[in-house]
Symmetry: C2
Subunit: 363 residues, 2 copies
Amino acid sequence: MKRVYNFNAGPATLPLEVLEEARAELVDYRGSGMSLLEASHRGAAYEAVHEEAATNIRALLGLGDDHAVLFLQGGASLQFAMVPMNLLGRGETADYVHTGSWAKKAIAEARVVATGGRAVNVAADTSAERPARVPAPAELRLTPGAAYVHVTSNETIEGIQWKELPHTDAPLVADVSSDILSRPVDATRFGLLYAGAQKNLGPAGVTVVVIRKDLAERAPDDVPIVLRYATHAEKRSLYNTPPCFAIYMVMLVTRWIAARGGLASVGRVNRDKAARLYAAIDASSFYTGTAAPDSRSGMNVTFRLPSEELEDRFVEEAAASDLIGLRGHRSVGGIRASIYNAFPVEGVDALVGFMREFERTRG
Amino acid sequence: MKRVYNFNAGPATLPLEVLEEARAELVDYRGSGMSLLEASHRGAAYEAVHEEAATNIRALLGLGDDHAVLFLQGGASLQFAMVPMNLLGRGETADYVHTGSWAKKAIAEARVVATGGRAVNVAADTSAERPARVPAPAELRLTPGAAYVHVTSNETIEGIQWKELPHTDAPLVADVSSDILSRPVDATRFGLLYAGAQKNLGPAGVTVVVIRKDLAERAPDDVPIVLRYATHAEKRSLYNTPPCFAIYMVMLVTRWIAARGGLASVGRVNRDKAARLYAAIDASSFYTGTAAPDSRSGMNVTFRLPSEELEDRFVEEAAASDLIGLRGHRSVGGIRASIYNAFPVEGVDALVGFMREFERTRG
């Protein structure tokens, strides 16, 4: 069986062991005579999967009883709407930190939702700066009494990441789609975290939301029932049929993370992978990183070559060497190597070797 | 490998051939060196799946250029909110036909959404009648100039189904979650159709929406971008990352339906399956159907036994004979046999045989 190194930004590579386990039980789930794809979401087989997925995330993040773990649909994009719909009351202001392409989408959607005397304040905007960077905490112009402060922990397109998210008086809301469970974090201090699964957690089709239970009760009366966090918290994400198979994959991936030693251990491996790539960039004048060094992402390593023509050739020749998905986002160009949890260190070394050889022959 | 007869109401049985095909290419998708679960939603491999799924549905429903086929998330439950958010303008009234448990949920959500001088009119209400039934077209008290008329084509819990959906002046909006692609239908006359996939189309995690393109443009300005039909129609359901694997399964299931001869052929088989079960019920005074004969569902066959104790025993002994998922919904009790497209006629015959034997020994 062929296996490439898959640097896609999301959907992204998954642990091979997890894929093989899913295949082994895909048609006849553990002797039940049916696939889990066919099993009732109210039955014992799926119920065990659903519970383990939530329990694994709770344990990995060190959450206590103050927070609920939810499995929703619609991706981070639906959270861009649900967050202000649920948490921004009449007459209130929400602070948003604008760091790049994903923050921009969150802000645009919040502005659509924030009618009726509700306001969106951009507390800092580094989105146009090059090299790209996240702001220092002292740069944030936060609103006293804000409903919440929204940040994007990692910008996949600009290749930047907060080393530590800011401490705020208002509840901290974070889009952690592209770095959830990739490093140790004190999750208990967040009001709300959300993540589409398709980068660090599993396949596309499920969104993990961690919410402080008191915040789940805040939604105004005119928020549709299905778009209230409280609805899903009360029903343990079984208000309606959940995306069972995607949650099953999240269960397998989180079990895999735990078996590798949890976030401290996975975080060390991820730091090491990123360090190898950034070292290769810094050792060469042929490759230029696009992020400010202290804002560099551990998940999406972005860099440029001397010309777009060379970048095209780099991407093509890498693909011919089974290094797949290295083209930067169409909005910024360049090269992007996404190295989420499941991306193997061997693939990083293969890319570093390819970079050296490419520079030697084409530079 | 064991294979039971799975009468679950949803998620529900899938064609065995489809499951086996998904398994065969789960880890290495067609020699690409990665799983489709890991493939970019912007790449050629997934793009072909996405297009074929939409094309198959378009062809099976005989749709022309007036309608868009969308793949959304959130299930029918999110459509209960999106329909009035998008289609019900200020000062307008939407007509809803209340036939049972699913219509009730659609109406409740529409009432939450319909603030600001918008109204929800229940045009008929047969939900409390026993035997359960759908209203005759002449019973509908429709609002002149209504924004739309909403119906539930099949009520899974009450076991009733419209033989033909009503002809209305206002755009007809139908929740077809439990009978989409189960019989020939003139889909071109609908304003909007929506269906969670997990009954007739595939696994849980994707919702198929068919919308007349002019209706997709109706949304008021304060509807969040991600909740506007126009957003997804313009981006061919690639506005954000779609639930790729669920759509892949829908592609395989719709291909399977087409290979069996399309809706006319599948509809004949489904009619025959239902007829065998209803004949068994009608031939016995031990079993009593819960739906009025001319409203009987071809998808969910519901019936009672003389006592709840006998019903419990029936469900248990059936399960011991590998006839799984026959317990009626907890809100109504009794027995329910869900026999969607992928449910085999051999399983119907097995249930009929079991019913005869159970009556002979327990009746």
